[in-house]
C-alpha cells in the first residue's frame, strides 16, 4: 500500500451482512479489481461503524466520506466517486454527524479493521 492508496472500508458485521454487505463488498472488489491489483485502491471489511440500522455502511477515509444504505445498484456511482467523480449525496442523508465524527476519529487513530470478520 502506498501513501496514495485509497482505502475503502465496508462494514461486514451481522446487521450490514443481513442487509447485503457481502454483495456490496464482492461487487466493489469485482469492479475495482484492476485498481486493487496495482495498489491504487484497497478494499477491506470492517468490524462495525455502529450504524447498523442504516447499513450496509461503507467509508472512504481519504475522501472523508461515509455512505450508508449502500446497495448493489449504487456501486457504479460509488466506484465513480472513488475514481474522482462526484460524491453521492443521497447515500449520506441518513448519517448522524456525531457518529460520523467518531468514525473518522477512530479510523484516523489507526484502528486496524478486523479482517477476520470477512
Amino acid at each position: 500500500m502506498t501513501t496514495d492508496t485509497i482505502e475503502v472500508f465496508v462494514c461486514n458485521n451481522v446487521d450490514c451482512k443481513n442487509r447485503g454487505a457481502a454483495a456490496v463488498l464482492a461487487g466493489l472488489r469485482d469492479r475495482l479489481e484492476e485498481l486493487s491489483a496495482n495498489g491504487q485502491v484497497q478494499i477491506k471489511p470492517y468490524a462495525c461503524f455502529s450504524a447498523c440500522n442504516i447499513g450496509p455502511n461503507l467509508v472512504i477515509p481519504s475522501k472523508r466520506c461515509w455512505y450508508s444504505g449502500v446497495g448493489p445498484n449504487d456501486l457504479d456511482e460509488v466506484v465513480a466517486h472513488i475514481k474522482g467523480g462526484e460524491e453521492i449525496s443521497r447515500l449520506r442523508q441518513q448519517n448522524d454527524p456525531d457518529l460520523e465524527e467518531l468514525i473518522f476519529s477512530i479510523i484516523d487513530a489507526g484502528l486496524i479493521p478486523d479482517t477476520e470478520q470477512e
Binding site: 451481522v14 455502529s50 456525531d98 467518531l102 487513530a109 486496524i112
Partner: protein
C-alpha cells in the same frame, strides 16, 4: 410471618441483590406487591456465567435445601405461586440435588398443598453470559433465543408469559432463612458496618482460593490478607479486581476502600458477583484488560449496534496495542467510544468492559506506553497527559 412482616424484616436487614446490581430486595418485593391481583412468578437465577465466579455453584451444590427454603420465603413475601430455579445445564449435580429436595418437600406435603401452595421446578439454561440478564433468561424460558427484551415493561410488570415476574439471584434468597430465624440485627451484625455478609470467590492465585462467606464493609486489604491469605506466589500485590470481570481494577493505594457495593462504586469499581482477582507486581495489566474486553465482545448478543460496536472496538484496540501496533492516539479513542455509547443498548452488557478498561488505562499508563509502537511511545507517552475518562471526551452522545 406474612408478606408484610417479611418485607419489613428484609428492609431492616438492608439485604441487596447478590447477582451484581445490588438492588435492594425489599424494593423489588414492594414493586411486586403493587402488581394487580393474579398469578405471580418468582425466578431464581442460579445460572452463573461470570468468569471466576463459583459462589452460585457452591450454594446450589452444597446447600440446595437452604436455596429452596429461601425461595419459598421469598415466594411468600412476593405472593408468587410458581418458582423456577435456573441452573447452568452443565451443573448436573446441582440439578439433581435440587430435584431430589423438591421431590422430598412435595412428598412430605410442605410445598404443594394448602393456602400457600407453590409449584417449584428447576430449569437448566445454556452456558452463555447473556442469560444473566433477567429478560434474556425469561426469553429462554419461553422457548426463544436468550436475548434481552426492551424495557418497559419490566419483568415485574409483565415477565414470564406476561405474568408479573420477580427475578432474584440464588445467593440473595439463600440469605433469607438465616434472616428469618435470627432477625435483621443479627444479620447486619455479621458485617462491621451493619451491611451483613456476602459470598465471594477468591481466584486460584490466592493462598485460600475458592468460595468464602465474608463480612461486607471490611477493607479490601483485610479481605485479601485475612480471608484470601494473600497471593500464593508470595509476590507483592499490584492490583485487585474485586467484583468479577466488569469491575474496575483497584491499585495497591486504593485497597483501604471498604468491600461493599456503595464504597467500591465510588472508586470506579464494583462489588458485582464478588469474584476476586489479584494481580502481582509482574503481571500484565494490558493483557488483563484485553482479556476482559475480548470476553464481553464475544458475549455481546449482537442485538444492539452500539453494544456490538463498543465491545468490538475496545477489544480490537487493546489487541492491537498488545500486538505492538497501538498508538497513543488510538488509546485516546477509548473514552470517546465509551462516551458516544453511554446509556445505549437494551441491557447492561454495553457497560461491562468500560470500568476495567478505563481503570487499567488510568492506573497503569506506563504498561500501556511500553506496548505502544516505538515511534509513538517516544513521541507521546500517555502517562503524561492526564486521565482517560469518558466524561472528558468531546463527543456528545
Amino acid at each position: 410471618m406474612g408478606a408484610s412482616e417479611l418485607t419489613q424484616l428484609i428492609e431492616a436487614s438492608g439485604l441487596a441483590g447478590k447477582g451484581g446490581a445490588a438492588f435492594p430486595v425489599h424494593r423489588k418485593l414492594k414493586l411486586m406487591q403493587q402488581q394487580p391481583p393474579g398469578k405471580r412468578i418468582l425466578v431464581i437465577n442460579g445460572a452463573e456465567h461470570e468468569p471466576g465466579s463459583l459462589k452460585d455453584r457452591f450454594l446450589l451444590g452444597r446447600y440446595p435445601q437452604t436455596v429452596i427454603e429461601g425461595a419459598l420465603i421469598h415466594s411468600l413475601a412476593s405472593g408468587a405461586s410458581e418458582v423456577r430455579i435456573a441452573v447452568n445445564l452443565t451443573n448436573v449435580s446441582a440439578i439433581g440435588a435440587l430435584n431430589r429436595e423438591i421431590e422430598r418437600l412435595t412428598r412430605e406435603g410442605l410445598i404443594a398443598r394448602g393456602e400457600h401452595a407453590v409449584a417449584v421446578c428447576v430449569v437448566p439454561v445454556p452456558d452463555t453470559y447473556i442469560v444473566g440478564d433477567e429478560s434474556a433468561l425469561l426469553e429462554f424460558m419461553e422457548g426463544r433465543e436468550p436475548k434481552p427484551r426492551r424495557r418497559p415493561p419490566f419483568p415485574i410488570e409483565a415477565g414470564l408469559f406476561g405474568q408479573p415476574t420477580l427475578v432474584q439471584n440464588v445467593e440473595t434468597v439463600a440469605h433469607l432463612p438465616y434472616l428469618v430465624v435470627h432477625g435483621s440485627d443479627a444479620y447486619r451484625a455479621l458485617g462491621p458496618d451493619g451491611k451483613g455478609p456476602t459470598l465471594c470467590t477468591f481466584g486460584e492465585e490466592f493462598e485460600r482460593s475458592g468460595v468464602q462467606l465474608v463480612p461486607l464493609g471490611i477493607s479490601v486489604r483485610s479481605l485479601i490478607s485475612e480471608y484470601g491469605g494473600g497471593l500464593r506466589n508470595g509476590r507483592p500485590l499490584k492490583a485487585v479486581q474485586p467484583g468479577g470481570p466488569s469491575a474496575g481494577y483497584l491499585t495497591q493505594a486504593q485497597l483501604d476502600v471498604p468491600f461493599d457495593a456503595e464504597s467500591l462504586a465510588k472508586v470506579g469499581s464494583a462489588l458485582g458477583c464478588a469474584a476476586i482477582r489479584g494481580f502481582s507486581l509482574e503481571e500484565d495489566m494490558v493483557a488483563a484488560a484485553s482479556e476482559v474486553a475480548d470476553f464481553f465482545a464475544r458475549e455481546s448478543c449482537g442485538q444492539c449496534p452500539q453494544c456490538r460496536m463498543e465491545t468490538q472496538m475496545l477489544s480490537n484496540i487493546l489487541r492491537q496495542t498488545i500486538d505492538g501496533k497501538g498508538t497513543d492516539k488510538l488509546l485516546r479513542q477509548i473514552p470517546l467510544i465509551v462516551k458516544a455509547n453511554v446509556s445505549k443498548g437494551i441491557c447492561g452488557l454495553i457497560k461491562m468492559p468500560v470500568a476495567p478498561v478505563l481503570t487499567a488505562l488510568n492506573s497503569f499508563p506506563a504498561e500501556f506506553a511500553q506496548r505502544l509502537s516505538a515511534r509513538e511511545g517516544q513521541e507521546s507517552p500517555p502517562s503524561g497527559e492526564g486521565r482517560h475518562t469518558a466524561a472528558d471526551a468531546p463527543m456528545t452522545s
